[in-house]
C-alpha cells in the first residue's frame, strides 16, 4: 500500500512500487489530465508538481512519491472557476490541440511561482522542457505574460 497526497487530498493505492507515477495517476486514480507523450522525460506532457517542483511523472516510480505533495492539472482550477493561468491560455490562444496544455499550465504555474514577472528569456527557459507541436510557443508566451500581469 502506498499513500499519496495529490492536490491536497490523501489517496491509498495498492500498486507495485516501481509503477510509474504517470500510470498510477491515469490508471489507478483516473486523473487523466496528465498525458504520456514520449515516456522518456523529453516532452513534458506528463508534468506534475512534485513538492512544488516541475517533474516528469513518467520517470518517477510511485514509491518515490510517498510523502510528497503532488499537484496535477485537476488541482489547478478552484471548483468550476478557472485559475487565471487557465483563463489566459484560453483567451490568448495558448492551447490548440490541448495535449501539451495540462503540462504547459503546470510549467507556467511553476515558472510564475519562481518569477512572478518573468522576462521573455525566463519564460522560454522555463517552458523549454514542455514540447508543443502546434503553436510555435508564441501564443503560449502571450498567455504566460497575461497571467503574470494578473498576479
Amino acid at each position: 500500500m502506498i499513500e499519496l497526497n495529490i492536490n491536497g487530498k490523501p489517496y491509498t493505492v495498492d500498486v507495485p512500487p516501481m509503477k510509474r507515477l504517470l500510470d498510477v495517476l491515469r490508471e489507478d486514480l483516473h486523473l487523466t489530465g496528465v498525458k504520456e507523450g514520449c515516456g522518456e522525460g523529453e516532452c513534458g506532457s506528463c508534468s506534475v508538481l512534485f513538492d512544488g517542483v516541475l517533474a516528469n511523472s513518467c520517470l518517477i516510480p510511485v514509491l518515490q512519491a510517498e510523502g510528497v505533495e503532488i499537484g496535477t492539472i485537476e488541482g489547478v482550477a478552484i471548483g468550476e472557476q478557472l485559475a487565471p493561468i487557465q483563463q489566459c491560455f484560453l483567451e490568448e490562444g495558448g492551447a490548440q490541440c490541448g495535449i501539451c496544455t495540462p503540462g504547459m499550465i503546470l510549467a507556467t504555474k511553476h515558472l510564475l511561482d519562481k518569477y512572478p514577472q518573468p522576462t521573455l528569456p525566463q519564460i522560454q527557459e522555463g517552458l523549454a522542457g514542455n514540447l508543443c507541436r502546434c503553436t510555435g510557443y508564441s501564443r503560449i508566451f502571450a498567455a504566460v505574460e497575461a497571467a503574470a500581469k494578473l498576479a
Binding site: 487523466t32 514520449c38 478557472l82 484560453l90 490562444g93 492551447a95 490548440q96 507541436r133 510555435g136 510557443y137
Partner: protein
C-alpha cells in the same frame, strides 16, 4: 419592414476556442483517456527486415499464448488491404515484407503490461531480398524491382519500374526558351523526411458488435476515410462501419491516412477476442511505424534573359513514397503544381514521379508535396539572381505573377494578386535592406555571420482540380431539443480550430451568439461526409457549406412563422423549440457546388488547379556561428494574403505553429535510417524546436476576401510550412556566402563545408560555379 438587427461581427473577432475550457482543465478526453468495460489491449508484431518473404512464424513456449488473441492475415474477413488510392498496401503482411516494421501479426491481452514481452518473443524467419532505400536506388536500372502495381492499374497506364505515379505538366516548349536564353542555370535540391510529431500518438479503440458491424473511436483527421478502409477489410456495407473521432492531440497530416491501418487492426482483434480492444502506440512505435513527409529531389534547368526574365525551364521532381502508394500520387500532384511558384513561365515542363523504396510508407504532412518543390524553387531563384548579378528581390520582381496572368497550369488568376506589394511590405516589416547592409559590415569581423533571406510562394486551398467536385461534400445543421443549431459534419478538430471557426461562421450567418452554436462530435453514424479535414479546405470549402446551410436554416424557421424576421436570440430559440414541437425534427443541408466555373483536365494537368490561392512572402534572419557551426533563426516575419481572417488569434497561431515546424524542417529535424529503419525514433534524438530554440515569429496579414470561402476566407493551414526552409537557407547564403541546397541543414553539414579546403567560395562571387549541387551552372552566352 421588420426591424433588422445588425449582425454582430463575429467573423474577424476572437471568441474563446470552442472546446478550450475542457482542454485547459485537463478534462478533454483523448483516446488513451477512454476505457471500456472488459476492454483488452492490442499490440503489433512487426518485421525486422526491409524486404523479403516470411518463411515461418513460431511461438516459443515461455509465453502463455492461450491467454492471448492472435490475428494474422488469415483472420481478415474481407480484403487484406488498406485502401487509399489503390490496393497495394496490405492490412497485415501475409507472405512478403516490403519495409521494416511492417505489421505481420496482432496480439491482444487483458493486461497491456504483458504485451511487449509477447511481441518480442514471436519468432519469424525470413528469406531476405535486396532492398532500396533512396530515390536513386529505386530508379537504378540494374536495381531490384521492389513494387508491383495493381494489375488493374497497369492496364490503363504505362508503368515505369518502381514508380507509383508520374505527371507531366507542360506549358509551351522549353526548348525554344533554352535556344533563346542568355543563361541556362541548373540546380539540384534535396529535402529529407520529417516526422509530424503530434504530441498524442496514434491510438484507436475497436469494437465488434456482431450484426451491427464494427465501431471504432480514436485519434484521426478523416473519419470517412476510416469507414472506407473498414468496409473492405471487413467486407461490410458502409452503414455497418461506424467511426467516431475522439479529441485529437495534433495531426498535421499524420492522422490522415494512418488511422485506417490502426483502426483495422484494433477492430480485427476485437472481432476475434470478443472484447473492445485499444491500440495506442508508444512514441517509438509511432515514429518507426507511421507515415512521414516524403523526401524529395528536384532538378531545375532554367532559361533566363540578361535582363532577368524567366524564359522557360524544366523541373524534374521526384519524391520517395516508401513501400506502398498510400497518398503519394496526390502528394506528388500538389508538389508538381506548386513547383512553378508565383512566377510567370512562358515555357515550362514539370516531370514528376513518386518512387517506391523499402521504407515505411511516407504520407500526408502539412504542405503535402509543396514544401518540397517550393524549397527547390525558392533556393533556385536566389541562385539565378546570383548568376545574373541581380538581388533576390529584383529578380523575383521581374517575374512575379499578377492579377489576370496565367499560372503554369493555364489557370487565369481572376482574384486580385499583388506579389509586388507583399514583397515590399514583408521586406519593410523585417527591416531587410538596412539589416543586410549592416550585417555585410559586421560579418567581416564577427565570428557570428548574420544574414537575411526570403521566400515568395503560394499555397492552393482545397482539393486539386476536380477534387472538390468528386468529394461532393455535405454539411447538415439540425436543432437540439433546447432550440440550438447543431452543425453536423465529418470535419474534425485537432487543434487547428475547426470547431471555433465553423461556430463563428454559423453564428454570423444565423445572427446568433457564438455560444448558441453546437458542433456535433464527428461520428459517421450521425454526421454526413463533409470531406476529409486536409488540404487547407475546411474553413474555406466546408465553411462555405456551413454558411449556406445556416442561411437555409434561417429561411426555414422564419418562413415557418415560428421565428420572426429580425429575430433576437431568445426569439430564435423559442421559435426553434416550437418548430420542433410541431415537426419533430428540423434538418437542413448544403452540398458542394463550385463557385464560378472550374475547369480541370486530369490527363493534361491543365486548368484551374485550385479554387483559390493564399500568397505569401516570408523573411528569415539567421546567425551562423563559425565556431560551433550552428545556424540559428534569430527573427522571422511571415506576411500572407489569406482572404478574410475569420479568427485573428487562431490564424496567427496556425502561422506561428507552421513556421516553427518549417524551422524544424530546415535546421533541426533529421530522420536517420539504417537499412530502411528509422534509428532516432525518440524525442531525445529527433530534435524538434523547443520554446528556447525559436525566434520571435511576427505574423502579418493582408486580407483580400475571396468569393470561394466562408465570408471571404481562404485556406491557411498548410501555407506556413512552405516558406521557412527556403527563406532560412537563402539567409544562410546571405550570411556566409555558402549555398546549401539540402535540408535539414545541421551543424555537421555546415562544418563539413566550412572546413573543406580551397572551395569555400561564394556563389555570389563566382556565379558560374555552383559548389554544392551536382550539376554545374551553365553559361551559354
Amino acid at each position: 419592414m421588420p426591424e433588422t438587427i445588425q449582425p454582430a461581427q463575429l467573423v474577424g473577432s476572437n471568441p474563446i476556442r470552442k472546446e478550450g475550457r475542457a482542454k485547459v482543465l485537463g478534462q478533454a478526453r483523448y483516446v488513451d483517456d477512454i476505457t471500456m468495460p472488459e476492454m483488452w489491449y492490442g499490440a503489433t508484431v512487426r518485421s525486422n527486415i526491409a524486404r523479403g518473404r516470411i518463411l515461418s512464424i513460431s511461438f516459443p513456449p515461455e509465453i502463455p499464448w492461450h491467454e492471448f488473441t492472435i490475428v494474422s492475415a488469415k483472420d481478415i474477413p474481407g480484403e487484406n488491404t488498406i485502401v487509399h488510392l489503390t490496393k497495394d498496401h496490405p492490412c497485415l503482411a501475409a507472405e512478403y515484407i516490403n519495409h521494416p516494421d511492417e505489421p505481420i501479426l496482432l496480439l491482444a491481452h487483458p493486461d497491456k503490461r504483458v504485451l511487449p514481452a509477447a511481441v518480442a518473443a514471436v519468432k519469424i524467419e525470413y528469406e531476405v531480398y535486396p532492398a532500396v532505400f533512396t530515390i536513386e536506388e529505386s530508379e537504378a536500372e540494374d536495381g531490384p524491382q521492389v513494387w508491383n502495381p495493381n494489375p488493374a492499374d497497369v492496364a490503363h497506364h504505362h508503368h515505369l519500374k518502381n514508380t507509383f505515379k508520374t505527371y507531366l505538366l507542360q506549358n509551351g516548349d522549353p526548348d525554344e526558351a533554352f535556344a533563346a536564353a542568355d543563361f541556362i542555370i541548373e540546380g539540384e535540391y534535396h529535402t529529407g523526411a520529417q516526422e509530424q510529431l503530434y504530441i498524442e500518438n496514434n491510438g484507436i479503440i475497436g469494437e465488434y458488435l456482431g450484426d451491427e458491424g464494427v465501431k471504432v473511436q480514436g485519434s484521426m483527421q478523416c473519419p470517412y476515410y476510416v469507414v472506407h478502409a473498414l468496409e473492405l477489410v471487413f467486407d461490410l456495407p458502409r452503414e455497418k462501419c461506424r467511426v467516431i473521432q475522439t479529441e485529437t492531440g495534433g495531426a498535421f497530416g499524420g492522422k490522415e491516412d494512418f488511422p485506417s491501418v490502426i483502426a483495422s487492426h484494433a477492430a480485427l482483434l476485437a472481432m476475434k477476442c470478443g472484447h473492445p480492444v485499444k491500440i495506442c502506440y508508444d512514441r517509438g512505435e509511432d515514429m518507426v511505424g507511421t507515415t512521414k513527409r516524403h523526401p524529395s529531389r528536384t532538378r531545375h534547368r532554367t532559361a533566363v534573359s540578361k535582363d532577368g526574365r524567366i524564359l522557360g525551364g524544366t523541373i524534374d521532381f521526384a519524391i520517395d513514397g516508401g513501400a506502398y502508394a498510400t497518398l503519394s500520387p496526390v502528394v506528388l500532384s500538389r508538389g508538381t503544381i506548386h513547383a512553378a511558384g508565383p512566377y510567370h513561365w512562358p515555357h515550362l515542363i514539370v516531370r514528376a514521379k513518386a518512387m517506391a523504396t523499402n521504407i515505411a510508407p511516407h504520407g500526408a504532412f502539412r504542405g503535402f508535396g509543396a514544401p518540397q518543390s517550393l524549397f527547390a524553387l525558392e533556393r533556385h531563384m536566389d541562385k539565378i539572381a546570383g548568376v545574373l548579378g541581380l538581388t533576390p528581390e529584383e529578380f523575383r520582381r521581374r517575374n512575379f505573377l499578377k492579377t489576370g496572368d496565367q499560372t503554369a497550369t493555364g489557370q487565369h488568376l481572376l482574384e486580385p494578386v499583388d506579389m509586388q506589394a507583399l514583397l515590399t511590405r514583408a521586406l519593410k516589416e523585417a527591416d531587410y535592406h538596412a539589416k543586410i547592409a549592416r550585417y555585410a559590415e559586421s560579418n567581416k569581423t564577427d565570428p557570428i555571420k548574420r544574414g537575411l533571406g526570403f521566400a515568395s510562394f503560394f499555397h492552393g486551398s482545397g482539393f486539386t482540380g476536380s477534387g472538390e467536385r468528386r468529394l461532393n461534400s455535405l454539411v447538415e445543421i439540425d436543432l437540439t431539443p433546447d432550440g440550438r443549431p447543431r452543425v453536423l459534419m465529418g470535419s474534425t478538430e485537432f487543434g487547428q480550430g475547426t470547431n471555433t471557426v465553423i461556430s463563428q461562421v454559423a453564428a454570423q450567418a444565423l445572427n446568433l451568439p457564438y455560444e448558441a452554436i453546437v458542433i456535433a462530435q464527428p461520428d459517421t453514424g450521425h454526421v454526413p461526409d463533409s470531406g476529409p479535414t486536409v488540404a487547407s479546405r475546411t474553413t474555406m470549402v466546408v465553411g462555405k457549406l456551413v454558411e449556406r446551410a445556416s442561411r437555409s436554416l434561417c429561411l426555414t424557421l422564419t418562413n415557418s412563422g415560428y421565428v420572426p424576421r429580425g429575430y433576437t436570440p431568445e426569439e430564435f430559440q423559442a421559435g426553434a423549440i416550437a418548430y420542433l414541437a410541431e415537426h419533430g425534427e428540423c434538418k437542413v443541408s448544403a452540398r458542394y457546388e463550385p463557385v464560378g466555373e472550374i475547369f480541370w483536365d486530369d490527363e493534361k494537368y491543365k486548368g484551374d488547379a485550385y479554387p483559390a490561392y493564399a500568397w505569401a512572402v516570408y523573411v528569415a534572419e539567421v546567425a551562423v556561428d563559425t565556431r560551433t557551426y550552428q545556424a540559428t533563426v534569430t527573427d522571422f516575419h511571415a506576411l500572407q494574403e489569406v482572404g478574410k481572417v475569420l479568427h485573428p488569434i487562431l490564424a496567427e497561431g496556425q502561422i506561428q505553429g507552421g513556421v516553427a515546424q518549417g524551422i524544424g524542417y530546415a535546421i533541426y529535424e533529421k530522420c536517420e535510417y539504417k537499412n530502411g529503419r528509422m534509428m532516432n525514433n525518440q524525442m531525445t534524438n529527433y530534435i524538434m524546436p523547443t520554446s528556447a530554440d525559436l525566434p520571435p515569429i511576427h505574423v502579418h496579414f493582408e486580407e483580400t476576401p475571396s468569393v470561394q470561402g466562408a465570408f471571404g476566407a481562404k485556406g491557411i493551414g498548410e501555407l506556413p510550412m512552405d516558406g521557412p526552409a527556403p527563406a532560412i537557407l537563402n539567409a544562410v547564403l546571405n550570411a556566409t556566402g555558402i549555398a546549401f541546397n539540402t535540408i535539414p541543414l545541421l551543424p555537421e553539414d555546415i562544418f563539413e563545408r566550412m572546413t573543406r579546403t580551397s572551395d569555400t567560395g561564394s556563389e555570389a562571387l563566382e556565379p558560374a560555379v555552383d559548389r554544392d549541387t551536382r550539376v554545374e551552372a551553365e553559361v551559354v552566352a
